[in-house]
Symmetry: C2
Subunit: 580 residues, 2 copies
Amino acid sequence: MSRKEEFMPPWSDEAPEAGSYRSVFKWGDPSGFKHPNRKLYRYMKEQFRLTDDDFRVRVREGREKVSLAGMPSRLETKHRTALAAIVGDENAADDDYSRVFYSVGKTQEEAFELREGVVKHAADLILHPRNTDDVVAVVRYCDDHRIPLYVYGGGSSVNFGFRPMAGGVMVVMNTHMNRLLEVNELNKTATVEAGMLGPAYESALNRAKELFGTKRNYTNGHFPQSFEYSSVGGWVATLGSGQESSYYGDAYDLVMGVEMVTPRGVINTHVYPATATGPKILDMIKGSEGTYGIITRLTMKIFYLSDETKYGGAYVFKDWETAVTVCREISQGEFGFPGVLRISDEEETDMGLRLYGVAGTPLDTIMKLFGFREMKRCLMLFRTCGEKHFSKNVYRQVKKICRRHGGLPLTSYPVKKWDHGRYLDPYLREDLNDFGMVLDTTECGVTWENLHRVHAEVRRFVKSRPLTGCLTHASHFYPEGTNLYFIFFCKVKDMEDYISLQNGIFEAIQRAGGSLSHHHGVGRMIAPWMEEHLGKNETDVLKLLKNHFDPNGIFNPGGQMGLDYRPGDLNGRDWRGIRR
Amino acid sequence: MSRKEEFMPPWSDEAPEAGSYRSVFKWGDPSGFKHPNRKLYRYMKEQFRLTDDDFRVRVREGREKVSLAGMPSRLETKHRTALAAIVGDENAADDDYSRVFYSVGKTQEEAFELREGVVKHAADLILHPRNTDDVVAVVRYCDDHRIPLYVYGGGSSVNFGFRPMAGGVMVVMNTHMNRLLEVNELNKTATVEAGMLGPAYESALNRAKELFGTKRNYTNGHFPQSFEYSSVGGWVATLGSGQESSYYGDAYDLVMGVEMVTPRGVINTHVYPATATGPKILDMIKGSEGTYGIITRLTMKIFYLSDETKYGGAYVFKDWETAVTVCREISQGEFGFPGVLRISDEEETDMGLRLYGVAGTPLDTIMKLFGFREMKRCLMLFRTCGEKHFSKNVYRQVKKICRRHGGLPLTSYPVKKWDHGRYLDPYLREDLNDFGMVLDTTECGVTWENLHRVHAEVRRFVKSRPLTGCLTHASHFYPEGTNLYFIFFCKVKDMEDYISLQNGIFEAIQRAGGSLSHHHGVGRMIAPWMEEHLGKNETDVLKLLKNHFDPNGIFNPGGQMGLDYRPGDLNGRDWRGIRR
């Protein structure tokens, strides 16, 4: 079939209608799209035994106007008035659209619910505080009146991390509390308000000379895929990790100090490069996911902006085992880390080579000739950074290790391709969803020792289901191990079917010895596994801190991180009440 | 005066008598000595306006046999019997010598007390558990019967970190629980019992091929000055830092997992390279200094043993400001860190050059000619490590920065000299003490921004006292700052005079914005400043965890870290009851 005649699904190119459900769940720029290209479309049909007929009619698109007719705000008027008086009337809203917009994260489940016009939980009042004083007053008021309080950073949670199960107030951080306050060039740190989103933060650091009169420009070094729709406070609260974390560190490593408002008062941790004055309160706040209080301000490490010292490359290896060994040797080589380091397993590589247009070309033939077989071979991308000679040496060492393990160099084209598209992949999801396919991800941390077991166990489970794709990569590296990131997609019968897939993956990870999350956080989604995962003595400590900071349980109530579960609350069910 | 005629003090060369007080407080090998050499002796006389007559007669040396005649064990016989039954009779002791030996750390105060035959606090029973089961049973028994419980790792605390203020039981970890259990070459980690001392741990890793059949030999990378008399568990419990921490990291960074026995049960943290499953319990245990429970086992990062990739050098700079700037540029250069990096301030440099025999030589003349003036110039030592090319690049970058700031290269001789003597300096102390001089250290963490303020403030305070030496160096580096390590020495009127010096330094650090400890920990010594230093909301969190893990307050009671102070306990006094 020629290109002209080939059927392509009617991908939607219409920006969501203002005020519609679709405008709530659509990823990113309302008029931004990244449709599956021909190759991906063909791949999907082939993999999932679909035909063009499966792609002729879109499912419900959620183009109706948001309505909360059946769910009026339950907040008493006196509370609404008092809270609006704190932040200013113009910064308080309880119209339906605001209530829905700020109550929904980026899970696949929420997107499908919204398509049906279903909103299971919405905050009663949305507040946009202007400064820490506003936050302190809101927290005090809500604590005094036992009003549930949720925090909205950038809204990109993929585990229901701020779903307002108990209604109440949603505090939106990115409207006003979004400024870069200081670039401290001497300490190489920046102090920033918690609601600042990735691009604004990065761009201000990139222009530090102009904006702050510094000698150099800086980068923040943290580039999660959610970069555009996540906040600095959210990065730390959920223990995020960026795509160049192997060099720059995770959010956990990047934060040097925080200000957090709790019902117990304001916590302000000092900034020291290191200190031996007991366990660090800062550490107890990292990863607390809105259950202890509201992070209002952070001091973060920053780095020199140095695009000219980046050297990238790509290799293909005979199999996953080899690719993993290569990355282990890189990570343990004691020559520093590349910024970007990613390996794709056989299935992700297969799709990648098709999408990059390599499959079926002379290069493909060469690869096969040299024994890099389809559905065995694995791709690796890397890109170094840092001081020029450091960066060059990392580049050389990486190549040396790749060569030693029989890697076939593929030029730096794939890494450029990846770099260009790295924030665009989430745009694909709406297109697939429009035809009833789900596309979702889970991920975990693994030691080198457990990596293969976790990978095999998750794939074994996923592949026990009909026609389900599972692409895996590892993209955050440490001397002791890495992460595994699973992208899975399939047609599902219904949401319950989909949830059983997701839960099955968590159980496979848990069974095989992975950490239940490497950088997505816990939220409500994996909360039911927390006690089993960490141990009861360990979970009790998190509950202890929760009850201390938030004695009346106003922060993020309703199963967040499992911290307000009482014994018997779950009884073998997941947080939605569905039997595991 | 010729060398032959020159008077030298009668430094003691006698190993302490077995069973004597001196055998308790003398540092290190009983027959090991490092006497002040002629140059140091001359320096001291000159600096402190002393004469040979001040060094003719030694003060009380503590050569009497230890006796606790006035302080019999207060532990009821039934408890003694029950506890001895748990660990085995041969592993329980309550003779006077054991009780004193295991109740004393390495503070200057304790040494002077022991010289006078004074023992203020001694545990009633010393136990040497064989394994975690023993520890669990001892903790349970002590908790059931409210018996105070202290933990002895290597005994090198310099802040009364395990002083048994309430008597009770001292659990000694280094007698039996001192084995390297596993070298996990895949994860590049080692699992070790908490009581293993530095040299045994390092030597086992150095011989990993032979002992564990690994492909390579390893190093643990942690070399505090107390290396020989500190335990792996102690490093983590007190947040220690080694002399090559700039490359290898602090104990805080090196530990990947712990097993800790508490009255609440055993805490076992999983080993993951990174995980986003909430605040990390491991982090809450780091630095808990024996107040939450007993750390019994740890999983630690390890590194390749690579002595052949170390490149060292030394420079002298015009002044302290320049030396600090050089180190800041090195630490922020994004080319990795040298292992060893140290700068000495003007006073420490002055003494160093005299001791190294540089003062008064042609080299000294050259230095002065080039404008490196006495009591202005500052020494820097460094030595790189890691993968060969990485290490070489760090070496080159360091030299480049040094040259740019007008540093005068001094060959690698000083770093070799330093390396050779680095564990020997503590031996000097007994000699000085023998003639009534005190020699002690305090230290703190500082950001680059606060460094000069802290340094100036501490020196201003110290120099406000008569004839007191204060040598300062910075030796642990981070992008955001470093530590300041103060060595002070003088003749004091009495202990109260000495304590007022020590307390004054803490107050100067606090006032000027330093952290009260960079790697010595808190103990009892700086406990009274903790709440002021961290803030009340922050200290409350540490107390919360303390009360959770140890609800009956049996662990390290008596002011450790200030966690069992009640309001009004201090009233402007230090932990000894002396007015601040």
